[in-house]
Structure formats: C-alpha cells, structure tokens
Amino acid sequence: MDWQALFLSLRLAAWTVVILLPLSIVMGRVLAYRRFMGKGLVEAVVMLPLILPPTVFGFYLLVLFGRGAPVGALWQDFFGHPLVFSFEGLVVASVIFNLPFALQPAQRGFEAIATDVREAAACCGLGPWRSLWQIELPLAWPGVLTAMVLTFAHTLGEFGIVLMVGGSIPGETRTIAIAIYDRVQAFDYAGAGAMSAVLVGISLFTIAVTYALSARVGRRLS
C-alpha cells in the first residue's frame, strides 16, 4: 500500500477543489446569466477535456508547460523550477481538465434560479454581493456541491494527463492511480488490489456524503 501516493492524490484533489470552487461560482454565474459574443465558443472550449483523449490533452499541456512555451518559460523565470514534472504543474493541469466537471453543474445550478427571483433580490435593495450570498448561493448550492464532488472524485482517478504532465516521481507527482499502474506493471497484484479497494471506498464515501448533503438542502428548499 503506497500511502504517500494516496495522500498526494488527496492533496491534489483538495487543491483542485479549493481553486475551482470560486472559479466555478464566478464563471458558472456569468455563463448562466450573461449573453455575450463568443459565449458558445467559451462553452465549447471548456467542454474540450470531456471529449479529447487524456493522452492528447496531456501532450498539449506538456508542450504548453515546457520551457519552450511562453507559459512554461514564465513559470520557470518566476518560480525558478519547471512547471512540468512538478506538483504545481499537476495542480494547474488538474484545474484545467476538471473545468467541465466543475463548471457544468455550477452553471446549471445558477440557471435553475428563476429570473424574477434574482430581479426581486435587486428590487429588495440587495446589491450583487448580498444577492449572491443571501439568495443565489443558497439556491444554486446543490449544483455547486455536485460540481465540487465530481471534481474531487475525478481528480483522484485521472491517469493519462497526470502521467503525461507529471510522470511518476514519488512524493511529487506519483498519484494513487499511477501507483496502481506501476504495481500492476511489477506483477504486484495484491498491492494494486489493496489500493484499488481503498480508492473504491473513498469514492463511495464521497458520493454518500454528497447525497446526504443534497437531501438536506432539498428538504430546506421544499
């Protein structure tokens, strides 16, 4: 059992959620309410990670993060170490490939709020911030929660992109999914099985917690 890999995966998933939570609220809200030029294009680009093979997506990120590309070069100049094959690189990649999982449910959550309810909030004197805190977030919460759970679970299981961008450096980029693959390659079926079982357990627990929370939210609303 590779505990280091498990904790690395959990750390990666937690960071991804922390970054995507505010991002999905802001972007989901904009996509739900606003109409603007190129909105369709933005939505399509955000959905790309869903349809591209992870290795293809990982390959492009690898090139983008490398020293030869502006993003990678800028990172190296600023932080003094390369973005590829580092934990930070994994976090950035993870945030990008989780965008559709985080944005879609959040956007649907905000879209489900009736327009006149939002207008009523404004006509009650609630400015944009108070409206977000007191009215919109409580109503869109099931969507946002679903978004975060999907992101967390998806990050734990992602394999192709992590391998392309991070490689398999123990303690830095070797996640639980990579570790399981390594064990299988080494014919250590018992180790792979134990780790897989742990992953199944964590996933079941996460989903159960989500269901319990959304049932509570549902009761609060009805």
Partner: protein
C-alpha cells in the same frame, strides 16, 4: 411623487409620460404586449429604454440625457411580481427582512408588524411553498413595503389567485391604502380591478397613451374602451348596504331606489361601488311589471351616443351618478328615446358579479 417619461422604438416601443402623486393609485391598463410591464421594469431599473427619465421622491433614478442610471438595488422601489418571486429558501419573515436596508434595527419586529398588516399573523416561520397563493401574494406585498419604497409597483399582482381570494385581496389593499403614503402603480388587464382600485387610469396601446384621467371619466370614453374591447363598457354606481336578507341577497340603497344583489362581504351601512356593465342594462319607458328582474331604478337620459355598429350607448343619470346602457339602435328608435326623458333602468341581480363591487374610500 413619481414622474416617468420614455420615448423609444424597437420591439417594445414606448412614447408616453405620466406622473403619480403620493398616496395615489394609478392603473396602467391595456392589452398584453402594450408595454405596461415594460414601463414598470423601466421604473424599477430592470430595463433601460433608449430615451427615458424616471424621477421619484425628488431623486433622479434614470435620465438618458444626462447619463444617470441607478441600478435596481439603488432605487428605493417596492415591487410585487406577477408570480410573487418570493425567495423559496427563506421563511415568510426572512423574505420580508431581506428587503430591509442593512443595519435596520429590530428587523424581526418590523417584519412581524408588516406581516400582521397584510393579515398573515403567526405565519412568519412558514416557507413560501407552505403558503397558499393568496398568502404568498401577501408576503410579496409585505416584502415590497419593507423597503419603505418611494413608489410601489404592482405587476398584475392578483392574476395568479382564484376569484374569491382576489376579491379578498382587493378589499384588503383598499383598507391598506390609508397607510400607504407613496405613489402606487398597478398594471392590470382586468378592467373591474382597475375600476375598483385605481384613482386614475392610463390606457396604453403600443406603448402610447390613448387616454388618461380619473377612473370614472376614462371608463366612459368610447375610444379608451375600444382599446379594451367595447364589452367592457361599465359604470360604477355608489350604493349603501342596508341589510343582508335571509334568502342570500343583500339590500342596497342607491340615490333613486333600492337594489338587491347576491350576498356581499360588506358591513351594513358601508358604501360600496357597484360595477354595472352597459350590456347588462335593460331600458324601459314606463316602470315594468311582472318582471323577474328585481332592480328597477328611475333614471334620466343625459346623452345618446351612436356606436359604429348597430348599437347605441345611452348615458343615464341616477341621482347624479352616471350609468350606461348599451342597446341596439332599433330598440332606441322603437322606444323613441330622447335626451331629457325619464326612463327606468332594469338590472338582473345575478348580472352583477361579486368582484364587480368595490369598497368606497
């Protein structure tokens, strides 16, 4: 006091101006698509016409000439939306409290006072889903008032409740009027409602004013009525409730005699306004006998106006109150009706609907 003017082309054209004084109720009436709701939305700041000016309580909310355009949350408005738009996750009291300015003292007590005022005593902890349509409408009204608005905007506020509830809400709003110091703008396509609640009417068609003026005056103007459909021609006759009879009728006294109507929810001695539809009125030269209709009132003919079709509209005076009869040109000729003559107005008790009777303020 609120002043509104707008002029814009486009999908919903507007070209009109009006003002409403404090404590006055103005009804915007017109067909759907005439621009009534757009006017309310422009006042609230939910829509900005290309050229418009909104001034309320001495403060300019919108002036496209000078570039002033306050967002809705900075305009002190109270809005009752057509479907109420209550916050579904908050209790009735919290819905009302949400509209109070941040930092107001004793929000809870004030919310209870407002809920009591709209007859929702003790229901403050209920969620909107646990309230009936009429109760939700009352919460929406309390919430609109919680902001101490400079103007109260009512967008077809009674259209989503059943008729009995609507009657009750009408009379409650009439009772509330004494406490409302701000201008009230009511959007409706229900002429009976406009007639019962409004001091003044603005009749709108394609974003322009066809006619505006005191309610009784507009209701007798054929041009304004054409915009509503001629069948809506009606007048309101004041009458005092004398007694509730055992057989389910209420006895009322008008200026020229008694009438009986289906049982009213009004106290003995109260003065009510009975809305009499012009096409329900029968005219007779001499007092008819052996008739099933209970209500026969002496009247004098003050005007006869020919319509475009086979009909004429006879304006009658009942002790100074004007009532209309829409009859055929042929009937008018065979009776030999002339201005100045005495005649009798016959009205079936059952032809006066309950929601056609409003309280007098």
């Amino acid at each position: 006091m609120i002043r509104f003017s707008a002029k814009c082309a486009g999908l919903i054209p507007l070209d009109l101006a009006f003002e409403v004084g404090n404590g006055e109720v103005l009804a915007l009436v017109g067909h759907s698509g005439s621009g009534k709701t757009t006017i309310l939305r422009s006042i609230a700041g939910l829509w900005t016409p290309s050229q418009a000016r909104v001034e309320a309580g001495g403060q300019v909310w919108l002036d496209t000439n000078t570039g002033v355009n306050l967002p809705p949350h900075q305009r002190q408005v109270g809005v009752v939306f057509q479907n109420y738009a209550l916050f579904p996750h908050l209790s009735a009291a919290r819905n009302v409290m949400a509209a109070m300015p941040a930092g107001s003292p004793d929000k809870r007590t004030e919310a209870e006072r407002l809920l009591d005022m709209v007859n929702l005593h003790g229901l403050g902890s209920r969620k909107p889903a646990e309230l009936s349509g009429g109760q939700q409408q009352r919460v929406a009204l309390a919430r609109a008032l919680a902001r101490r608005p400079q103007v109260l905007l009512l967008d077809e506020p009674f259209s989503a409740v059943d008729r009995a509830t609507r009657d009750r809400l009408h009379s409650e709003l009439m009772a509330l009027r004494a406490d409302l110091r701000m201008p009230v703008i009511l959007v409706t396509h229900d002429m009976a409602e406009a007639q019962a609640l409004a001091d003044r009417l603005v009749v709108i068609e394609k974003g322009s004013v066809i006619r505006q003026g005191p309610t009784a005056e507009v209701m007798s103007d054929p041009a304004a009525l054409r915009a509503m459909g001629l069948r809506e021609l009606a007048a309101t006759l004041p009458a005092r409730v004398v007694a509730h009879d055992a057989d389910g009728l209420t006895h009322l006294e008008t200026a020229t005699g008694p009438i009986w109507l289906p049982r009213l929810n009004a106290e003995t001695g109260a003065v009510v306004r009975v809305r009499i539809m012009a096409h329900e009125v029968i005219l007779a030269r001499s007092r008819p006998e052996g008739l099933s209709a209970q209500n026969i009132l002496p009247a004098s003919i003050i005007r006869i106006v020919a319509g475009e079709g086979p009909g004429v509209i006879v304006h009658l005076s009942i002790g100074g109150d004007e009532v209309f009869a829409r009859i055929t040109r042929r009937a008018a000729a065979s009776l030999g009706l002339e201005v100045g003559q005495q005649a009798f107005m016959v009205l079936k008790s059952m032809s006066v609907a309950r929601d056609h009777i409003g309280a007098v303020r």
